[in-house]
């Protein structure tokens, strides 16, 4: 079994599975976030459920964090191995002639998304942990909408989110379809599947961008 885990193919499958898990999570995340534009009450209800439900907090959340860590660590491990596979570089290398920029720079887009996750965790996750477990503040099912909208008041944060979502889109553009190839799925359905993954790579980050920009330009007035 250890031989299998060390193999290049198994490592790519780990990347693919963790990536697909994170893609599925993004769909859930964007759906809940979008309710903040449609109905503040619905957003508060969902956010409170996610914040205090035992299954979400103690099972799904650790799995999600583990998924991010596995995807990130394995990505770095593979990148280091790949760099070692060509110690002497070409003087002239026209990588753009046979492969897209996105497919050749997954580590770049991935690291930007990872850096964004740091900010995102600081903005929301650390805040939640502090509220619930350090300050032991009481449950307040109505606070989430206002807290979220307030986050997007500064232009710099909104811009950072927008840029990060563009990079996320590029990462998904190659990564989502690539994960199926890594798991051995390449047949007559692949062209249709690729179109779906590319549509997903555009629509989901675009909705995230819309939500951030919407809240920036529609602040809460007291």
């Amino acid at each position: 079994m250890s031989t299998v885990i060390k193999s290049s193919i198994a490592r790519k499958v780990v990347m693919a599975l963790s990536g697909l898990f994170l893609v599925f999570f993004l769909a859930l995340h964007v759906t809940i976030n979008f309710t903040s534009v449609v109905s503040p009450d619905l957003f508060n209800t969902w956010s409170h459920f996610m914040g205090y439900n035992g299954l979400v907090q103690y099972i799904m959340q650790p799995i999600l964090i583990a998924g991010v860590i596995v995807h990130f660590v394995m990505g770095i491990v593979l990148e280091i191995q790949n760099n070692k596979a060509r110690t002497v570089k070409y003087v002239k290398y026209k990588g753009g002639d046979n492969a897209s920029w996105v497919s050749r720079n997954m580590i770049v887009t991935g690291l930007v998304v990872l850096a964004f996750l740091g900010l995102h965790f600081y903005d929301f996750w650390v805040h939640e942990m502090t509220y619930k477990y350090i300050e032991s503040s009481p449950e307040d099912p109505t606070r989430y909408y206002e807290e979220t909208v307030m986050k997007f008041a500064p232009m710099w944060r909104t811009l950072l989110y927008v840029v990060s979502f563009v990079l996320l889109s590029l990462h998904l553009w190659h990564g989502f379809a690539s994960s199926f190839q890594s798991m051995g799925f390449n047949n007559k359905y692949t062209p249709v599947l690729k179109k779906f993954t590319q549509a997903y790579a555009i629509v989901v980050p675009l909705v995230f961008i819309f939500i951030a920009v919407y809240h920036h330009f529609n602040p809460i007035s007291h």
Binding site: I9, A85, M183, N187
Partner: protein, 248 residues
Amino acid sequence: MKIYLKVWRQKDASAKGELVDYTMESVEGDMSFLEMLDILNEDLIAKGEIPVEFDHDCREGICGTCSLQINGRPHGPDRLITACQLHMRSFKDGDTIVIEPFRAKAFPVVKDLIVDRTSFERIQQAGGFISVNTSGQPVDANAIPIEKEFADKAFNAATCIGCGACVAACKNASAMLFTSAKVSQFALLPQGKVEAVERVQNMVRQMDLEGFGNCTNTGACEIECPKGISLENIARMNREYLSASLKG
């Protein structure tokens, strides 16, 4: 036409190489790329200099021996051909052409433009063969009907000439296209299924041991392959490997 060459010169495996400039004064468009290098070498020999060493054999695009990185691409700018089938009409008067050896840790430079590709042979030796008896005991393998779809895919995979362009093109110097072609040509046929589990495990293990990089599905290998080997083979090898791992 006048062509400016920048050719990688390296005395031996341990020497530090460099690009050396040469000017070719009267290159004909109908010359093959290797004929152009032959003329360069004749000129160098006439001047008492050491000729440029490069690999070549059949010069018909079928042996996979020539291995030149031409202007940043394996086998040059044209698709579905090896360097020996590239003609100088693909270039313009006054062009500068950079010629380098295929670069990969698993393809160490021997001299000038020649690289050691025996890592491919070791992958092949790890499982790229059939050792079961296929000759009439009890049924001759050639008498087993095979669906055309599978026969075509197996033969397409078998057209891989092992030139190494896939490794040279890949940003990770991955050998997945080569290995997957060799796995696929047997995996699709009944004769190859007997040893399918051991074959894919052993060949992938050897590929990893040789120090090739990981496949990140950029598709560069498929674009640069002179035989048009499809990425579908990589997916098939991934399936074969996962299936073999589950079987133990």
